[in-house]
Subunit: 404 residues, 2 copies
Amino acid sequence: MTRDQARALDAADPLARYRDAFALPEGVIYLDGNSLGVLPRAVTPALADTVQRQWGERLIRSWNEGWIDAPQRLGGLIAPLIGAQPHEVIVGDTTSTHLFKAIVAALRHDPKRRTVVSEAGNFPTDLHIAEGAVGCVPGAQLKVVARDQLADALDDDTALLLLTHVHYKTADRFDLADWTARAHAAGALMLWDFSHSVGAVPLDVAAANVDLAVGCTYKYLNGGPGAPAFLYVAERLQAALANPVSGWMGHADPFAFQDTYRPAEGMRRWLVGTPSILAMASLEAALGLWADIDQQAVAAKSAALFDILHAAGTAAGLECVSPTDPAKRGSHISFRAPHAYELTQALIARGVIGDFRAPDVLRLGLTPLYLSHEDAWQAGETIRQVIADESWRDPAYAIRNAVT
Amino acid sequence: MTRDQARALDAADPLARYRDAFALPEGVIYLDGNSLGVLPRAVTPALADTVQRQWGERLIRSWNEGWIDAPQRLGGLIAPLIGAQPHEVIVGDTTSTHLFKAIVAALRHDPKRRTVVSEAGNFPTDLHIAEGAVGCVPGAQLKVVARDQLADALDDDTALLLLTHVHYKTADRFDLADWTARAHAAGALMLWDFSHSVGAVPLDVAAANVDLAVGCTYKYLNGGPGAPAFLYVAERLQAALANPVSGWMGHADPFAFQDTYRPAEGMRRWLVGTPSILAMASLEAALGLWADIDQQAVAAKSAALFDILHAAGTAAGLECVSPTDPAKRGSHISFRAPHAYELTQALIARGVIGDFRAPDVLRLGLTPLYLSHEDAWQAGETIRQVIADESWRDPAYAIRNAVT
């Protein structure tokens, strides 16, 4: 592909108009939107209003003027992105805390089943939290097996199958309906982590009959660093499942100030404490962009961006570890390389920001709302140049960079 | 007291200069800083930098440029306000989530002890969370007793005494050292909720030998609506207590992406997921104000403000339910009145913002950093006028206002 061919794709791109909705930094091609999405321009005025008028002027009165309903309102904005009904999603807390609540609740749902099954190499917090959650339910255990052993691990002791839909490292994607059906066939509940899926690939929890899901909003949804996470509970399970972290925001009548906990109806019972309203305001502004976006167009553009970087990376001798079938992956591309860390740093030094995932993966996020085909082409060119240059193997790059 | 006398107190007030550090709304006397503190002017530029430069321009790189250490850094700013060492406090999550983690951890500390003791009428989330937490530890139970039964409730089955230091409704304050010593004498750990104490009354966890404490930062610390909460764990207990909500941010090496949880040393093990950086930035700016503030001066001014409102309220026939001894209360004053809700609404309509706490309490917060003696005098005058007027009993005020 040439630069002109990439530009031609941009000229025909139905999503190209969204690029102006983001404050993209100068001189950077940002391929890390799968870790931290970029700043939507709508966030700045929304935060200014929240801080200056709602907090500064209206003060406590703002709780009655929109704040108290923010968890449900934002849940309603996320619902269509995962195929849920608005009253099946709530926003607040972190993905980790939602996982904890959902896992304990699922284990208590059928006391005859004591095992949570998950995948080795799943995103660490999913496994760490599951480890903590089984410790809160007598007799419960966590069984972590390799992906190809998952089907065999499901049995009549399985209370819950916990999977991350798109793998954070490889971008491997599970079939949503197929694995949900396998969990159900074993008599277990299914909990999906959509952190690397929502805003990246089309999702339909209703069609797949999903029981529970959580997800991160600071990646493809661009809610801001550490933005609050979401929890989905299928309507049919809402009355049966209880939140073990029974805080006052989930009480049926929080402002009656009663000693005894009584869970709210519907999704509000999953709230714990008071969510950060500044964080919610930023996320709400970011979610506003998604109202008229065609998820299929996002998926199609993600596939085109993938193909450009796949061609460039493999031509430069890198081993792609992401599936080449777009139906089997999320929206990033990962290359394995013996000096992946130094390569990541060399690319960042040249303005192409991806990230490194231990021990040997260069990961590049594909975010169709603000990345152009020309960006992908330019990133591919930079990869080619860096690898041809060889100077990136300089030990100066080897200072460990903890987060990127 | 006359207006001129109040002004004379303001002229001699060593804290008067802090008022300009806050963006106070026009035409309002704000007596609800014990529920939501006002906006510090420093928040606006701090958030602008966090959003525009750190998120917008530096993007993922900001995790290595200050974000990742924010929970410990902000803990270090709160530590001197409670008499702790900087490495004994961490910020993130909500007060409710911190309570959950601390209660489960305390119950696991000595498996022979199975009871959490707390006070009837404690702030609801403390009791609700304790109810959920005991459900996560086999055999554990919650014993909730009236304040005058607390001493008798402590026995050799008590694992933890959980008390809110300053009562959210009455402002009654427990003696920190005395009740901590009682818990210890019974062989139990002591967990304090400082939500209505921090920034309001002098605290010294080291002198009182406190084991555990949590607290809210959006009240007297002015961190913003739903600002992240803090957790204190005494250094001597840090290695012995484990976080049941074992998320990746509390892992010894989060970016090694290991399947098995291994808790970090020190306070970092109490982190769960990724905290909202926007919420942390607002709180950090707000905490900057406290560096050179004399807590004894805050307490002295709080007492003066209390006396002004106490005189006005009792003269108007209201029954004060807060202790008149300043050593036995926090920094608000509560009046019981049969029509407390309508009275609260009538005062708000006249620009004096306090709040109502069911079933019959008018609560007025005293925040010495931004309230003047003249404000308190004017609020007292307004109370006098409203009660003399009698129109506040109009049923139009009786529309239930859930939050204020």
